[in-house]
């Protein structure tokens, strides 16, 4: 892990517990994922699910925010943002898909159990699932998408995938061919940002995966993120109790997303750090132009390696900048404020775009070793591109930026 310390991060803002957690996660990711990759490849049952269980249950990532009284670790101050980054960098270095799932869980925890905005009722209802079970709880979101079949109600130009109506203390949900953010096959809990029939205000509703009326399609083939076995989900008259509606406000919704994007920003850095280690080994050992020239000492390949390091460095700084912003709502505003949320979206897009470029270049440097599965680089390339696609269109995100910075209103 010493090599990763070459990439500066605000160690002076992290607690010793964060550093210790990161070190443990580093070792676990190495032992349980990286070292087993050549043997198990992308096998879900043999590799990914067990390591997810270790992270979520043994290491306790799925208990992090919940109140101690409910079995959680109550690490739920805003400064937990640093913990999230320190942790997910390491998890992402092991496997982007696994880290992607953990980021879902942490975002939901932050939305419900953050000290300043603790949702007592929801915590009491959902914490036990996370704190008492021996299996990892896979959380997935059902969010509005950019581009639909023209029939769904819209929100900021995006189309809701799920509609809800409230009656007699029960929410009833409808959604056909809904595309979850992850794990349509496996998720135990879906968080849906729903259009509410007859009302302007949407609702964020938690739906247990085994609720009656939920059916799941076959697993998609996709370019990456093997840990997220995704599938379409259909909700036909699914009923959940009123308490499952966690919030109705955009502030809370944006808060959830800010923490989610923080996790993805850190996950991306993790992928970049993995690429760095693979490239470093290549640069140390590959000999080119006959016998006398080591790869990293060639002025052209050495310069490109330097450029890649620059990209990684900037990404890591920015992920921690976002942590710093979320850690101090007094200065920067609530995680759900428009400004902070805009920054979260900018940084996650920035990091994913940087990662795309940097890993592309790493592959170019490694030529056929770059795309051979044996060298393990290509999976970070596929996985991070998939995260970027699932994050959503950069064009649409830019409209959000314009709303904040220029006061655009109709985009």
């Amino acid at each position: 892990m010493k090599d990763l310390e070459l990439f500066i991060y605000p160690k002076n803002r992290l607690h010793q517990t964060d550093l210790d957690l990161a070190a443990s996660l580093h070792d676990l990711a190495q032992r349980e994922i990286v070292d087993k990759r050549l043997e198990f490849k992308e096998d879900y049952d043999k590799l990914l699910k067990p390591s997810l269980a270790k992270l979520m249950v043994e290491m306790g990532l799925q208990r992090m925010f919940w109140p101690e009284s409910l079995g959680g670790e109550e690490h739920n101050g805003p400064e937990a943002s640093y913990t999230v980054v320190a942790a997910l960098e390491q998890v992402g270095r092991g496997d982007i898909g696994v880290s992607f799932l953990v980021a879902h869980s942490l975002a939901l925890q932050a939305a419900l159990a953050m000290r300043e905005n603790l949702n007592q009722e929801a915590c009491a209802r959902f914490a036990p699932l996370f704190c008492e079970g021996k299996d990892p709880v896979i959380v997935s979101f059902l969010l509005p998408v950019f581009g639909d079949d023209g029939k769904a109600p819209a929100w900021r130009g995006k189309a809701f995938q799920v509609r809800a109506m409230s009656k007699n203390g029960v929410w009833k949900l409808e959604g056909k061919g809904v595309r979850p953010t992850c794990s349509g096959v496996d998720a135990q809990l879906f968080g849906a940002w729903c259009a509410v029939d007859g009302e302007d205000q949407p609702a964020f509703i938690l739906v247990p995966g085994d609720a009656s009326g939920i059916t799941r399609g076959p697993e998609f083939k996709k370019t990456g993120l093997a840990a997220s076995r995704n599938a379409e989900v259909n909700l036909a008259g699914v009923e959940v109790p009123a308490e499952n509606c966690l919030f109705r406000g955009e502030l809370e919704y944006r808060r959830l997303l800010s923490w989610f994007w923080l996790g993805l920003s850190a996950t991306t850095v993790g992928g970049l750090l993995a690429a760095y280690q693979i490239l470093k080994e290549w640069g140390d050992n590959r000999v080119i132009k006959g016998k006398d020239s080591v790869f990293k000492e060639n002025p052209l390949t050495g310069a490109l390696m330097g450029e890649i390091a620059q990209d990684i460095s900037m990404s890591r700084l920015l992920a921690y900048d976002l942590a710093g912003i979320l850690a101090d709502p007094g200065t920067f505003g609530d995680a759900g404020s428009e400004g902070v949320n805009t920054y979260a979206l900018m940084i996650v897009h920035q990091n994913l775009a940087t990662a795309e470029r940097a890993i592309h270049r790493t592959m170019e440097l490694m030529a056929s070793a770059g795309y051979a599965k044996e060298w393990q680089l290509e999976r970070y390339w596929r996985d991070l591109k998939t995260v970027q696609c699932y994050l959503g269109s950069h064009e649409l995100a830019k409209h959000d930026f314009s709303r904040w910075f220029y006061g655009a209103r109709t985009l």
Partner: protein, 422 residues
Amino acid sequence: MRSIDVFSRPLEYLTPLGEQVGEIIRDWVEREVIPYRRQFDEDYLEHRYILPPFKKLLGEYGIQRILFPEDLGGWGLGHSDYLCVAAFRMFEEIARADSGMAVAFGVVFWPLVLICCEPHVNRRLCEEFAPMFTSTTEPVFSCMAMTEPQGGSDIENMEVLKGSTIRTTAVRDGDEWVINGHKLWPTNTGGVANLMAVVCTTNPGSRNPDDIAIIFVPCDIPGVTQGPAYEKAGMAADKNGDIWFENVRVPLWYRACGPGDDARYYGEIVSMGNMGSIAFAVGVMLNIYEKLQEYVERKTYRGMPLKENDAVAGVLADFAATVEAVRIIGYQCARMCDRQDLYGPRWSPEIVARARAHRYFAADRALEAIGKVMNLMECFGADRDWDVEKHWRDIKMVQLWLGGKQLSQMEVARWFFECETL
């Protein structure tokens, strides 16, 4: 919806034969490949699904014969001055469905260029190998065995290393070559190839071009062993593996062009490889154009098709502009390789440098453009069902092969700026 034929190319360069074969391939692709290509993508080890359509195209339609002289049962395209433009069209059409198949297809002809094209037609070898391709309706594959384990792209770096790092040896023993060595990564290995051209040295460590020998080796003779196909990020239809040569014996006259000429005409292999790579990129982009048209028409945004949103249209325009540019560059590259009377011999360092420049420029642009399309399509961009992600994975390899980008840059700089020590 507009057809994929809207993108510019120099109409002056087209020939009836090329266009006709192009149409045949388009028809084949639409019936035999596109409906099944998602299966092909899982078929990298067995080629159970991939082989039958190849049998039809190469064997039954007989396209595997095209390079050979007409009197040997071929179509004489090796003699023509429109081979590359015709090939460009064929490659585009196949790559539109599956660029892995386009590569496997292209490499059938790659080594044959050395014996079928003027000014270095090797009539005796044509006679020897033509029947292999012309007398069967089974598909016949060739391969060009270059890369070695220790050297990476050293072989492709002919101008600097002049073959001095080649470790696969060809030793003369009476009227036979005895070949020993280990090659990896060639397209159509992993058990596919029937005939190989092997880049050997007759004098290890030598920088004398006379000592580089390109020798044809039928794959079924003793001493040739092929390993299983590698697992790669994409291009399932292009099998790559190891080949070991252990005291493989072939007649002396299986050498492609002879001392000095093998090294010289190797440049042609590089130029044409680069030209073909651009065609693969174009083909892929043509299919993405179709998919994208469908996507932005079908999906809506605020009640209008997505394409009516100006921000989306900006991405669409950039994609279209890239296809325009890359296709024009590609056809000019092909033409340059065809009309050696105007542009100079295609094995010359000049044409090799130009073709490398065209290729890496094109591949970089294509990849960038495709990446943006994927992001525009959000989760559907990463989805096997929309096929864009498959093209993206595949085309990355097109960018990386033939020695990678850095080697290309060095050759381009060397020629355009007369660098001497790179």
